[in-house]
């Protein structure tokens, strides 16, 4: 053994024929393994780009036929083969906006509760329960929405909304309409419930990551819990909180099945949130199998391309904002 180790050239040791070939095969295996994992990573890299390219290709007939008009026309007429994306785009934006108006304050409240209010033994189970809400498949939300929540809205909530908010100057037209149950407001509320767990879990995680010394300094000056959260925790985590909100927004914009059940699939553009509407994802899901002409199918895929672009931008902003705080953590 000693002679082997003292030898200056390890290749020249006595069992010299086996060791170098062993090293060579090890090196080759290492190279193959490296190429395999690098290939898999490249696949991850190209999936998004390939998806965008495929949808652009699938929607080219629509983009060629209608051009920019596709973005600015509210006509959706399968019989006369005229397609415009305004109604689905409007529905997607409005239902997501309603969702965010509900989900952001509620998620902040949940994060506040989980980091400052709840006793320690209660925090993990409650957080797990809220995250369970994220695990429920959207088709289940859709069924519950259609069979339970829509009748509830139609019987209890919407008549009240119509009566009390319908007459308010300025915003009145938003809340006028028959209490169908199905419609933009219902879809927005269901979306809001669906994205609460995503936003609240990001907020809770980043709130917990605030350095204790910062919070303790504020407490030592006599701050209340609320003042610490509002004046220390929130400013420190601002970018990640915005990132979490955008993450939720990305979910809301692309959510398909739940919205399809409760939105009503109507291509009429109306101001009222109580009327049925449509969203990009719901239009595609509802009409894909019915698309009987090339231009119809192409228009649906073009809608998918628009959705992809919008969600990509929103999610990219979300990730960049979330990353900002991670960098800050590393510095402290």
């Amino acid at each position: 053994m000693l002679t082997h180790m003292s030898s200056s050239d390890p290749l020249a040791v006595s069992h010299g024929t086996t060791a170098p070939s062993r090293w060579r095969s090890d090196g080759r295996a290492d190279g193959i393994f490296r190429w395999l994992v690098a290939g898999a990573a490249t696949l991850v890299l190209v999936v998004l780009g390939a998806a965008a390219a495929a949808m652009l290709w699938g929607g080219r007939l629509t983009f060629e036929t209608f051009g920019w008009h596709f973005l600015f026309s509210s006509e959706w007429d399968a019989v006369n083969k005229q397609f415009g994306a305004v109604v689905p785009i409007y529905g997607t934006l409005v239902s997501s906006l309603i969702a965010m108006l509900i989900a952001v304050p509620v998620s902040f409240g949940i994060a506040l509760f989980l980091t400052e209010v709840a006793p320690y033994w209660l925090r993990t189970p409650i957080a797990a329960a809220v995250e369970l809400l994220a695990g429920i498949p959207s088709i289940i939300y859709g069924m519950w929405g259609l069979f339970m929540f829509v009748p509830f809205m139609a019987a209890r909530v919407l008549p009240w909304v119509n009566q009390n908010l319908g007459g308010v100057p300025g915003v009145g037209p938003l809340f006028q309409g028959p209490p169908l149950g199905i419609g933009m407001l219902t879809a927005g509320i269901v979306l809001g419930i669906m994205v609460i767990p995503f936003i609240s879990s990001v907020m809770r995680d980043v709130f917990r990551a605030v350095p204790a010394s910062l919070k303790e300094s504020a407490y030592a000056l006599g701050s209340t819990s609320w003042e610490v959260v509002w004046n220390v925790v929130l400013p420190y985590t601002r970018s990640a909180v915005v990132g979490g909100i955008f993450l939720g927004l990305g979910r809301a914009l692309g959510e398909t099945m739940a919205v399809t059940f409760v939105l009503g699939n109507s291509h009429q553009l109306t101001a009222s949130l109580l009327m049925p509407g449509n969203s990009i994802a719901a239009t595609i899901a509802n009409e894909f199998t019915e698309a009987d002409s090339d231009i119809y199918l192409s228009s649906l895929i073009a809608l998918g391309f628009l959705l992809f672009i919008v969600t990509f931008v929103v999610l990219a902003i979300a990730r960049i904002m979330l990353h900002k705080l991670a960098g800050k953590e590393g510095n402290t």
Binding site: A29, A41, V44, F113, A281
Partner: protein, 288 residues
């Protein structure tokens, strides 16, 4: 200077603001839990009422007739398993590259960034992608296309968990193994994977939970099939798509079957997420 009266008023106001904020936080949490309980309760109540032995032996019926979900269950199981078989190995490999092999930080961070976006992007888009990629060239919907679409949802979940779990493995392990002269691929497979196994398994289970309720990507790829099929080149039924079709229909018997399907899917998702949580928790404790 503040008068004593003023400071007492200020103090009372601050205490009140604190109390109000904490109460609102509690109300918000109850608000969130309220929906969870309502949705789960409704699914369990209606689903349990619709359960029957024929569910697992009979085919999906035409309107007005009695039937079960056997073909849809079979389709779902086959497509989910295939999706895991395709997506998990690629995902584990890509995650390994990110955690162990990628040298240039910019390149590594770009892949992580895009993977995170893929993780959150709408599943309907992946369905349309696979439609353009496989269904349109082939000219027909197929179970294979459904499996590939689901695999694209599995992929980013597994990449992320594998990457994170491998990074949690202490460097001392790598150094100890490499110093024995073991090649890097063997270190990765026999030392690092073993150390990170519970985490990687959790990632795969989470991915399985996620695809078992996915509907949108299957609408454009596997479509649906009223009959049993062993042929993955033919349109294939799945539980979520059958739920969609039946729940949107006007028939009472179909609604009942849709609830039964919803019950099965929800139970599966609940069990999978509890199991994966338990694995993670047990592992974390044993590491501490």
């Amino acid at each position: 200077m503040n008068s004593p009266h003023h400071s007492r008023w200020l103090y009372a106001r601050r205490v009140a603001a604190n109390a109000i904020a904490k109460s609102l936080g509690t109300v918000a949490t109850l608000f969130g839990l309220f929906w969870l309980i309502w949705i789960l309760w409704v699914t369990l109540e209606h689903g349990a009422a619709a359960l029957k032995p024929g569910l697992f032996t009979q085919m999906t019926p035409p309107p007005g007739e009695d039937g079960g979900l056997a073909n849809a269950l079979f389709g779902s199981v086959i497509m989910s398993l295939l999706a895991i078989l395709i997506g998990a190995p690629i995902g584990i490999a890509a995650g390994t590259y990110l955690a162990e092999f990628a040298r240039r930080p910019a390149w590594r961070e770009t892949i992580r960034f895009l993977n995170d976006i893929l993780l959150s992007s709408p599943s309907i888009i992946l369905g349309l992608f696979v439609y353009e990629l496989l269904v349109r060239p082939a000219g027909h919907f197929s179970g294979w296309a459904g499996a590939v679409a689901l695999a694209l949802i599995v992929l980013p979940v597994v990449v992320r968990t594998t990457d994170e779990m491998l990074r949690l493995v202490p460097n001392a392990m790598r150094e100890a193994a490499l110093s024995l002269g073991i090649p890097q691929w063997k270190v990765t497979v026999q030392v690092l994977y073993r150390a990170a196994l519970p985490g990687i398994v959790t990632g795969v289970l989470l991915a399985l939970a996620r695809i078992s309720g996915e509907t949108a990507p299957l609408l454009f790829t596997a479509l649906n099939n009223q009959y049993w099929t062993n042929n993955l080149n033919a349109p294939t039924a799945s539980i979520p798509v059958v739920i969609f079709q039946y729940a949107m229909s006007p028939y009472e018997a179909w609604h009942s079957l849709a609830w039964a399907g919803a019950f099965v899917v929800t139970m599966l998702v609940l069990v999978l997420s509890l199991v994966s949580r338990a694995i993670l928790l047990r592992n974390r404790i044993s590491h501490d």
